[in-house]
Symmetry: C3
């Protein structure tokens, strides 16, 4: 049984090491914070991270899968998520992202209320169209 009052790194097996001294997720007590995730495919040892594809659909679904991996590695699920921050690079992507988002969450069969969300339009490194981070509070 882990000490729930200590702060621990949450490290999904599928994730490459972060590009700097930060954790993909951290948990302390009942709070789990997920770092900004992008559409990288599961890491292949010794290779640079690869984006799931050039389309918003591919990247949104992979980004959501990556957030979910961190949640699960931290003992949480989508039902525990309080807030999602969605960063897009193009206002024109809003409607399509919402469609993908809605279908994705329909398939997750949430028992609880959906998380709150903020969407803003920012710059991201070349080739990336979406980044998402999450705050979860475990029950």
């Amino acid at each position: 049984m882990s000490d729930q009052t200590a702060k621990t790194a949450v490290v999904p097996a599928t994730h490459a090491a972060p590009p700097a001294k930060f954790s993909h997720g951290v948990r302390k007590g009942n709070i789990l914070q997920v770092a900004g995730q992008v559409g990288f495919l599961p890491a292949v040892p010794g290779e640079a991270p690869t984006v799931a594809g050039p389309t918003l659909r591919e990247q949104t679904l992979q980004t959501l899968a990556n957030v979910k991996s961190v949640l699960e590695a931290g003992g949480a699920s989508w039902d525990d998520v309080m807030m999602l921050r969605v960063y897009l690079t193009d206002v024109a992507h809003f409607a399509e992202m919402n469609e993908i988002y809605n279908t994705y969450f329909d398939e997750q069969n949430l028992k609880d209320a959906p998380a709150a969300r903020t969407t803003v339009y920012v710059g991201l490194p070349a080739g990336l169209l979406i980044e998402i981070d999450a705050l979860a509070v475990l029950g």
Copy 2:
């Protein structure tokens, strides 16, 4: 009496349904997260959301009113807010937004310390000049 350990959606009567599967607010235990609010007027059933007006003043005041509605629907007040994130579209709006912000909070007669805040400049959908989200911790 609601079960404060369950995660519940916070739904102000005045708010239109969100444009995707997210909640305007969620509460779990003593944490209340308010989703990004913009300057939409109270919803009129069957009509698309309408922005309070084209000016920064109109939108800032309506956005703050919308955040407050979510706080109150979740059993909280401005005094419980720990953090406000303010997203503006134009650096030239900073001084005016601060004036509006200060006058607004003077009128709220806070008993506690003001919330922390971060302001950054991003893109928003056409016609929107400001978005604000909030994290509250209830006493």
Copy 3:
């Protein structure tokens, strides 16, 4: 001994008053929120805030020092930080910021896991290259 259930402003001695009605930090219970910090040098009474310098290195190190000041004034340390949000103005600064960030945190000798982090590219007022805010959960 302070009342840990009240919400209190966290005011480092070195910080100028915020440019509006917000707190550089607020603490309530075991949660400490640090407002967006930029690369301003310690305040000189009666003078306008001065940026540490024009380079990313100067501003990143000063910004991290300013976050740390708020943490310490709130009874916390880097080890308590769950999340850092890094706002840069230029995607081309990512690699250099990570180098500075890694060296800085190597020198902090963290006992716990590094915080989660999100980095996005936004606008900031003229002359500012970086802004960072932080969420800490005390042990």
